[in-house]
Amino acid sequence: MAAILELKQVTKIYRKGDNEVRALAGVDLCIERGEFTAIMGPSGSGKTTFLNIVGCLDSPSAGTVSYDGRSLGAMKEDELSEYRKRHISFIFQSYNLIPVLTVRENVELPLVIERRMAKDEIRARADEVIAAVGLKGLGERYPRELSGGQEQRVAIARALVKDPYIVLADEPTANLDSHTAEEIVDIMREINRAKGATFIFSTHDPLVKTHARRVVTIRDGLVHADERK
């Protein structure tokens, strides 16, 4: 399979006063299109920093990140925004839905920001994805009217609506009970299988680990283990 994401010697150093914190210490990793990858590791191991850099939310102190063979190192803030808009989606631990928008409007948001589709197309696409995550008929509800599991489904729908290169999920099941967590992982896995969407998600959850096709363990800012199933 073709590599969609490639990290070479990626290092991230944070400076806090006189102290230096090396969050990533030279990560080399290659993710292929359609992979369902779990990033595991103890707290403070560098999982979130890894996802931030892969998601173009942060830039590495050293090393290169390439998508589809294109290096993102030289991109400016606006170009990175544009890149995220087109190719990368996020699922957050706390769902982070926009509370003043309905389920449908939340799901439509990435497409509206992208400004490439007509209004009718956006609506049809949103309805399709909402149905795919099992929330058909709930499009007009507001996030406050949903359960945690339903909110995370909306977040998944929002992440998938624009057919991104890659979906990054930061501990997507951490705030859910085990039953709902399993449902959410099933949905992600199903979409991964059916649509070929590439997922990278950080997790502490052993249940999620069992569903992952590849498990990358990060420890002290380095890839400690990389298992494929």
């Binding site: 803030e77 925004s81 544009e82 995220r84 808009k85 989606s89 706390s94 982070n96 926009i98 920001i113």
Partner: protein
């Protein structure tokens, strides 16, 4: 823009109480500005009307020597050949009426107390064709054939404790500087929109004054009524032109036009409106701080939301635009509410009026009018208020919007 507006609009109303408080502050400030402006405009109009209709007329003619010593109202500098002067004035195209007056200083007594007064000897039957004081008189104005009749301001009457039908003693120096005093019957009390007439106006007939002050036909000034013009500038220009013409034709005379008096009055009024502008400025500053605070609180309560929008591709300037839009919405809604409040205030002031009499009581506020003060519509100022409101809101939102745009995405997403 549609989604940005949708998010901004809904967020504005998400914290209803906070938003309502900001809007009420703005509406109060702007509404008061519009209402005060209406009152000032009405005050100017009433003041100018008073000049023409109650105190100075369109043109006041006296000798230059009299004008130099005007403060003492000397009887030594009367108008020579008043008939020829009257004929000249009445031959001018826009002049409608002319009347003679003689002012003199004296004291008015109720038999126990006396008050210094500036009295006017007027021509009954002619004076009211130039000035409309009789319209504001309770009782009656001086009658052409009346004897020893006196009309005075209601406040002065109250100070002296006299009323209609009472006798008062007027004392003054004659033309030959001899002290004289006579009793006059109070036949009318003036309660006009001109406070100076109410507090110090004393009028007797020219015929009584002639005997009382040994005037021998002396007139210190002529007052002139000119055709009423809708436009203030035209009315001022007419009187200025007539004054210039008269002074050219009669050297040694001094003609004070409505233009001269009106411009002085408007200069003073301008100073008043400046101080009110300052008060409104302070109120708008408070509203601006309120809006800045509202938007800033909105920024801080939505840091994660900012992070999410940035993660999905919003550029910093779009984040900034979102919060500017929220400030703008507050500004537009606040301005609309302010204009609505202002229109309501205006309507009240225009149709009901502000009752100076009952609100101020006996207190002299130094305002150029008395009675019911009526406002005036001023759509131009309403538009200014609305634009200022929106501009203040946008200006106040700039700093919080910038702060939101500058947030690091990763920090924003981490924020709990």
């Amino acid at each position: 823009m549609g989604t940005l507006f949708k998010i901004a609009w809904r967020n504005v109303w998400r914290h209803g109480k906070r938003t309502a408080l900001t809007i009420v502050t703005m509406a109060f400030g702007l509404g008061l500005f519009i209402g005060m402006d209406s009152m000032l405009k009405g005050m100017d109009r009433s003041g100018l009307d008073n000049i023409v209709a109650l105190t100075d007329s369109s043109l006041r003619v006296s000798t230059a020597a009299y004008e130099e010593e005007r403060r003492s109202y000397p009887l030594a500098h009367g108008l020579q050949d008043a008939e020829r002067l009257e004929a000249f004035l009445l031959s001018r195209p826009r002049v409608q009426a002319v009347a003679r007056r003689t002012r003199f200083v004296g004291s008015l007594s109720n038999g126990v107390d006396a008050l210094p007064v500036l009295a006017v000897a007027a021509e009954p039957g002619r004076d009211e064709r130039v000035l409309s004081i009789p319209d504001f008189v309770e009782g009656s104005w001086l009658k052409a054939g009346g004897e020893r009749e006196l009309v005075l301001g209601f406040r002065l009457a109250a100070d002296l404790g006299v009323g209609l039908g009472d006798w008062v003693t007027l004392a003054a120096r004659t033309k030959y500087d001899a002290q004289n005093a006579d009793d006059f019957k109070v036949v009318g009390l003036i309660n006009s929109s001109e406070p100076s007439l109410n507090s110090s106006g004393v009028f007797i007939s020219m015929r009584d004054a002639d005997g009382f002050l040994d005037l021998e036909g002396l007139t210190t000034e002529l007052i002139v009524a000119m055709e009423r013009r809708v436009n203030l500038k035209d009315a001022m220009a007419d009187s200025d032109a007539l004054a210039a013409e008269l002074e050219a034709a009669f050297p040694g005379l001094d003609a004070r036009s409505f233009g001269d008096v009106g411009r002085e009055f408007l200069e003073l009024a301008k100073a008043k409106s400046k101080s009110i502008g300052l008060i409104i400025g302070i109120m708008m500053l408070i509203a601006g701080v309120g809006i800045a605070n509202t938007v800033l609180m909105s920024v801080y309560s939505r840091i994660r939301e900012i992070g999410v929008l940035r993660a999905f591709g919003f550029k910093p300037r779009e984040i900034s635009r979102l919060f500017l839009l929220e400030g703008g919405i507050l500004g537009v809604v606040g301005s609309a509410a302010g204009v609505a409040f202002g229109v309501a205030l205006d309507a009240y002031f225009i149709y009901v009026g502000f009752p100076m009499e009952s609100m101020m009581g006996e207190i002299d506020m130094g305002l150029p009018i008395w009675g019911n003060l009526y406002g005036e519509w001023n759509p131009q100022q309403m538009a200014v208020a609305a634009v200022v409101g929106v501009a203040v809101a946008l200006l106040a939102s700039r700093a919080p919007a910038k702060r939101a745009a500058r947030m690091e995405v990763t920090n924003a997403l981490r924020f709990v």
